[in-house]
Amino acid sequence: MDITELREHLCGQYPDLCPLFSIEFGDGVLLVTSDRLHAAARDLKDLGFDRLGMVTAVDFGEEFELVYRLQSREMRAGIFVKTRVPRDEPRIDSVNDLWAAANWQEREVYDMFGIVFDGHPDLRRILLTDDWVGYPLRKDYENPTIIRRPDYL
């Protein structure tokens, strides 16, 4: 299955999302709602995306965007799965049961953004200490040791 066949398959599976599926530089981007993320991830895994390359999040103010990058060795393709969770209740289903790689990566997202992964077996802070206050990669994070570089440009 190559990337164009994959696109047709995904359009059949997710007709409302089809306009959102784009191929950029050989990478597909699939936008799903947060409640369908786990089902979409499972579906993509069954299609041959056997590697979870990256899990990360981006702070967009009212919402966090979660970005998953999956890779298929067989298709030699990569795909992004993106979803958004509200800032006041950041929860999402963990994909740790599909790819063990999600274990540490989701812990890191929890550590940096405070997004809770339901079903994660060991959701603790990973890079920061357990008593750290706040989530540093949120845009509203404040710490007196952070000094803004002057705008001398």
């Binding site: 530089f25 590697r51 030699r76 790819w99 540490w104 802070r125 920061l128 206050v133 952070i146």
Partner: protein, 399 residues
Amino acid sequence: MIEPQDTPTDQAAPALPDLDCAPDVVMPEVIYEGDNTIVNIGPSHPSTHGVCRVIVELDGEIVRHAEPVIGHLHRGIEKMAENRTYLQVVPLTDRLDYVGSMYANWAYCRAVERLAGIRVPERAEYIRVIVCELQRIASHMMAIGPAGADTGATSAFMYTFWQRELVVDLFESLCGARLTYNYVRPGGVSFDLPDGWIEKCREFVAQHPAAMLEIDRFLFGNVIFRARTKGIGVLDADDAVSWGASGPVARGSGVDWDLRRDDPYSVYPRFDFSIPVGDNGDVYDRTRVRLWEAIESCRIIGQALDGLAEFEPGTIKADGMPRLLAPRPGDAYDHIESARGSLGVYLVSDGSVRPYRMKVRSPAFCNLALLPLVSEGYTLSDLVVILGSLDPVFGEVDR
């Protein structure tokens, strides 16, 4: 007569500032029941290959569980990048993988180039391939030598460090730095090759495979080293894929996956090289894959030096590069095969001169997550060997 000093004993002690460090997470209450011993190694035990702490549960000498505790070298590079312009981030990427700085430079620059739509001159691409393959050799020397030292064969350390020294000398004459190069920049590289550099590089490439074969004979053929590494820390291919392992850790387990061939970038499709793959997934195979990769890198460098002659000297920077990059709003991801595996950089731009978000997909982080899995059931002395074979660089793990 000396007057007694005023001692402020009657004054009230100044109130301590409110540190506001109430934990916002509830620590799980661990009540340990059993006969096993908990041993804490680190955070900077000399044989832990960096500032890592490992909590080991031991049954006699057998490791029942080993949990890496990371973050001691966390500098918040992803947060710092949000506060700098695109060009100012490049020196930060040097500090990620300080054994292989060129890779992080290159991965970051590729993401910026993809975001801003910059076309890199071919001569610069060839130079990038040459320096990154040299960097792969230098970085693998830092994995093979300590693998010998971990098992007691310290002479291998000297031999591999001599080879690394030659590469570092080449880099020093190229860009003036020996560890953090800041050499690959968005749109090209910072300096063209100096006079006589190509000849020096050819000399290095000519002698390197013989030196590697010598190490192959006296280290990998050594009966003690084989006894200490064969069948130790076995990782099977399915686990390697599921845990997102990449680079020599995955290839040592027989996962034939290398981005240089399977998701070709830059000018790699023009070169003829093979990807060494192990089959047992033990420490021996992981380390030996690195050795053969270093020899393959020499082949790539030789071909790239030949190809370099086609291009006019001096064309190393993209035309029309603005002094201040302000890419389109959007995101971009690019990855390269570093010495440790697939190193990716994900950039989000809001159209301003600073990255809105930078994420480094670090191969060492994903590989280190395997430690509890691969060390279970082996002895405590094997644990250090296994940790070394995963080749974590904590600048990249902790970021």
